[in-house]
């Protein structure tokens, strides 16, 4: 089984449109939405949820007002300012480090598992999909990404599907590192803007760090021919094969408004381009 992870240095490059497009072509696959911070793939794929699982990570301290003597030791030692003046835990700030319960002389702090979100296995018109929703204000998206990725691989194995297509997390932080682990190929979606160029370099250094073969798609072509050329040159010089180019086109938005993939919405135009992109990916896989 092979895993392709679609990533971009920053959000808004059209990564999710590319993923839903690729979902519509090629062999049967399991889809995996690892962009758990802002999961959008379900808006196009409209999954029927088959299975819902709670996601727990770390601990959630709780101070018992009955036992607490207001000595203040916990607040003094908490390095994340997560304990209020009236000795309540501020969940958005708490890292679950356990210092408060360690220092409390009155045994007033108990720890419970922390529910950080949910993840789902679903049916879509393109095959099975694994996706998640991180709780608002929760951290540890890296661990949730790992959960989604592992579940995707399991589903693929169970169904005898040879390919997992992952909508990766944006950025170069811990979630994207988690989405790249175990991948067979990274597909970088780049757009010709000054800022995206810079992000492409950062994200490329990450794939290099993991020694992952990578390919690139230039999206929004026609916006800035000069920068498009710079991206092409960057790809040639850095051993990143160009899988294809997509135009700056309102069709992307129109397809999104109708909740269709760009292949479904425009089979003869963008659809053909996505098919070509898939063919060149398949050759390298």
């Amino acid at each position: 089984m092979k895993q392709i992870v679609v990533i971009s240095g920053k959000g808004g490059t059209g990564k999710t449109s590319v993923v839903s497009g690729l979902a519509s072509v090629g062999p049967k696959k399991v889809l995996s939405d690892c962009d758990v911070d802002a999961a959008d793939l379900h808006l196009i794929l409209k999954p029927d949820v088959l299975e819902t699982n709670d996601f727990f990570s770390g601990e959630r301290p709780e101070i018992s007002a009955d036992k607490c003597t207001s000595c203040g030791l916990c607040a003094e030692h908490c390095r994340f300012d997560a304990i209020s003046d009236d000795f309540q835990i501020i969940p958005e700030k708490c890292e679950g480090c356990g210092v408060c319960s360690y220092v409390c002389p009155a045994d007033a702090v108990s720890t419970l598992p922390r529910k950080c979100g949910q993840w789902f296995i679903s049916d879509t018109r393109f095959g099975k999909m694994v996706h998640a929703a991180l709780g608002i204000g929760e951290e540890n998206s890296g661990k949730l990404v790992t959960t989604v990725r592992n579940a995707s691989a399991e589903v693929a194995e169970k169904e005898g599907v040879e390919l997992v297509l992952v909508d990766g997390s944006p950025g170069v932080g811990c979630p994207v590192i988690a989405s790249l682990t175990n991948a067979d190929m990274a597909l970088l979606v780049a757009e010709p803007t000054v800022t995206a160029m810079h992000d492409l370099e950062r994200v490329h250094s990450l794939t290099k760090h993991f020694r992952l073969p990578s390919m690139a798609i230039i999206n929004k072509c026609g916006l800035n021919p000069e920068l498009e050329e710079t991206i092409r040159k960057f790809c040639t010089e850095n051993d990143v094969t160009l899988a294809g180019e997509l135009p700056y086109d309102r069709t992307f938005t129109r397809a999104q408004l109708e909740k269709k993939s760009i292949v479904e919405y425009d089979p003869d135009g963008l659809g053909k381009k996505i098919e070509q992109i898939w063919n060149s990916i398949e050759l390298k896989l």
Binding site: D37, G137, L257
Partner: protein
């Protein structure tokens, strides 16, 4: 006054709005500061083109084990206590995985032999400078580093003197953006009029409601999609601060790293409107 510019996800034009609003304020002779808190992908400097001073390394505390004092195999209290698996027992000593360490200090508290002291590790850099009259600060997280909130905290300290400080927040609804927003008087959420935009806007709205911030919304690329964002704002009584029209001109000006507020017809009035709405909505508090 601190104004945070945020969005549920990246790519909605958050940085564009932040830099153009700052440039507009500066043009109105308002003493303006700008802090780029998107430390994973700081982009504002491409647009405001500041002259920056030397980068300063920012560090987090990390434990250092004094091997001579460590009781070794029979103890391992620090390893048991660490919630982040950043300490392990290797061959015959305690090893620290600095990248996983949150710097909470529990191991030091738990060590019965005073064998742990506090060292430092670099998580990224900050730099400050001037973009014209704008006081500018930015930070860059080390690649592969997960702890961005402490770096965000550090760069936020860079400017406390400007009359209006604009902070460009990281995307999402988790700890980095919470850290970036903290202490703001007003939050501007930037979205676009598409199903993706609306979905992510709703997540950001939920977060701001939990954190109890005053906020309003700017619609970027207005006219590119449908009216669902406007309907959502009406239904939920959320103020629309302004709408920046969709144009290919704007997209290509942005792509080259240029400011838009004074170049695209209609934009200047819209930034003026955004600013006046912010003033109106915050005047009750000030």
């Amino acid at each position: 006054m601190r104004i945070a510019i945020a969005s549920g996800k990246g790519g909605t034009g958050k940085t564009t709005v932040a830099v153009n609003l700052a440039a507009y304020l500066d043009s109105q002779d308002i003493d303006t500061g700008f802090i780029d808190c998107d430390v994973e992908e700081p982009n504002a400097h491409f647009f405001l083109k500041p002259e920056l001073g030397p980068a300063k390394e920012e560090t987090l505390p990390v434990p250092e084990i004094i091997t001579d004092k460590c009781l070794g195999e029979s103890c391992k209290k620090c390893i048991e206590q660490c919630r982040f698996k950043s300490l392990i027992w290797m061959v015959s000593e305690v090893l620290v995985f600095a990248e996983l360490c949150h710097g909470c200090g529990l191991c030091e508290l738990a060590c019965p032999a005073d064998a742990i002291t506090e060292g430092k590790r670099v998580v990224g850099t900050t730099s400050t400078g001037k973009a014209g009259d704008i006081n500018f600060a930015t930070a860059l997280l080390k690649i592969g580093e997960a702890m961005s909130p402490p770096l965000i905290k550090a760069v936020k300290k860079a400017d406390s003197k400007s009359e209006v400080v604009i902070t460009d927040c990281p995307p999402g609804t988790s700890c980095p953006v919470i850290e970036a927003i903290e202490g703001s008087d007003f939050v501007v959420l930037v979205t676009e009029p598409t199903p993706f935009g609306l979905h992510d806007l709703d997540l950001a709205v939920q977060l701001l409601k939990i954190l109890k911030y005053k906020f309003g919304v700017v619609i970027n690329r207005s006219g590119m999609g449908d009216n669902s964002v406007e309907e959502y704002l009406n239904k939920n009584n959320i103020p629309l601060l302004g709408s920046l029209p969709h144009s290919r001109d704007a997209a290509s000006t942005y792509s080259s790293g240029d400011l838009l507020w004074d170049k695209i017809p209609g934009f200047k009035q819209e930034y003026e409107k955004i600013w006046n709405s912010i003033i109106k909505l915050t005047s009750g508090a000030a």
